[in-house]
């Protein structure tokens, strides 16, 4: 692990949100982006993204696969711990593509991006409204998520 604090995220930086589940993709044959807004919805006030500037396409995919494999390993472990069957061949999370958007697009939507390592190149979309009213927050989060989805491009696997 690097002891040097990560640099602040510059406006022009490209961010990737990895798609690990079909539930984040529209299943119809629509024109345009297949990303659903829910891909960008926060959990506990943050949306996890990766800073992918300087990475080739192969490296971006490899980083996505690494994230997916780690999530799958964690999920498998959790299922087995609960006593649920989880056959070797089963795979819930795999890399299915990514949504890419610039930090500038996040900021002009009214949110912010801050580095959060480890893992390397990791950052969080932050600034999601937290009023204490669960439903009002959900409404506000959906609005921000739609704005982010509109600006993001889908890079399929």
């Amino acid at each position: 692990m690097s002891l040097i604090p990560p640099e602040a995220v510059a406006d022009q930086e490209m961010l990737a949100r990895y798609v690990l589940s079909e539930s984040s993709l529209y299943r119809d044959n629509r024109q345009g982006s297949l990303l659903r807004p829910n891909l960008f919805m926060p959990y506990r006030g943050e949306t996890s993204v990766f800073r992918v500037d300087g990475l080739s396409e192969t490296e971006r995919v490899a980083a996505g696969e690494k994230v997916a494999n780690e999530r799958e390993r964690k999920h498998r472990q959790a299922e087995l711990t609960k006593g649920r069957a989880y056959p070797e061949a089963k795979c819930t999370f795999r890399y299915r593509g990514r949504g890419e958007l610039r930090a500038h697009d996040v900021r002009t939507s009214g949110l912010d991006v801050t580095p959060k390592e480890p893992p390397e190149r990791h950052a969080n979309i932050v600034g999601w409204p937290q009023s204490g009213n669960k439903n009002a927050d959900e409404a506000a989060h959906m609005l921000f998520a739609m704005k982010l989805q509109k600006k993001a491009s889908y890079v399929s696997r």
């Binding site: 690990l20 589940s21 079909e22 539930s23 984040s24 529209y26 299943r27 119809d28 629509r30 345009g32 982006s33 659903r36 807004p37 829910n38 919805m41 926060p42 959990y43 506990r44 996890s48 997916a68 999530r71 799958e72 964690k74 999920h75 959790a78 819930t92 999370f93 009213n133 669960k134 439903n135 009002a136 959900e138 409404a139 506000a140 989060h141 959906m142 609005l143 739609m146 704005k147 509109k150």
Partner: protein, 162 residues
């Protein structure tokens, strides 16, 4: 005395196929086959969105369904969303269904990237909604017990029949 009755199932049109070999018989057999297959594919006009909602629910019933620590969607959210959906399908185009990491089900009416409405239900009395209408946005909460929220009706009307 024991009577032997022949079994003639009524559900399958092709259960007792003709053994005739003429070209007319082949033609009729083929037409029956196609008709039978089309009946098997048939579903009601509103079956697809209901089925999509069911699929979304089944995919999101357990925690961490998205790989990013999402909360599970409770059964009550499914029943509530299905009730809302069944009230609106005859009046507006069918929405798509998905779930949010907070453990709610969402319906999204999509006219264009800048014209869309999302509604989120978690099984509680209040639902959340947000919409894009060009450069204008709406967001808020509404009560949903039995009747379709009037506010949502107006937003949907605005989305499709401006």
């Amino acid at each position: 005395m024991t009577a032997t009755l022949s079994f003639r199932p009524t559900a399958n049109l092709n259960a007792n196929p003709s053994r005739a070999t003429s070209s007319e018989a082949d033609d009729i057999r083929e037409k029956f086959q196609r008709f039978s297959e089309s009946l098997q594919r048939a579903e009601s006009l509103f079956a697809h969105p209901i089925r999509e909602l069911g699929d979304a629910f089944l995919d999101c019933r357990h925690e961490d369904w998205d790989g990013y620590d999402a909360q599970p969607v409770p059964d009550e959210a499914y029943l509530q969303t299905k009730a809302l959906l069944s009230q609106v399908l005859s009046a507006f185009p069918a929405p798509t269904a998905s779930a949010n990491p907070s453990g709610s089900l969402t319906l999204e009416w999509f006219a264009a990237p800048s014209r869309r409405l999302m509604v989120s239900l978690n099984g509680e009395q209040q639902l959340a909604f947000a919409g894009l209408f060009g450069s204008e946005t709406v967001q808020g909460t509404a009560s949903f017990l039995d009747d379709f929220p009037l506010e949502l009706f107006w937003h949907l009307k605005r989305l499709y029949y401006r």
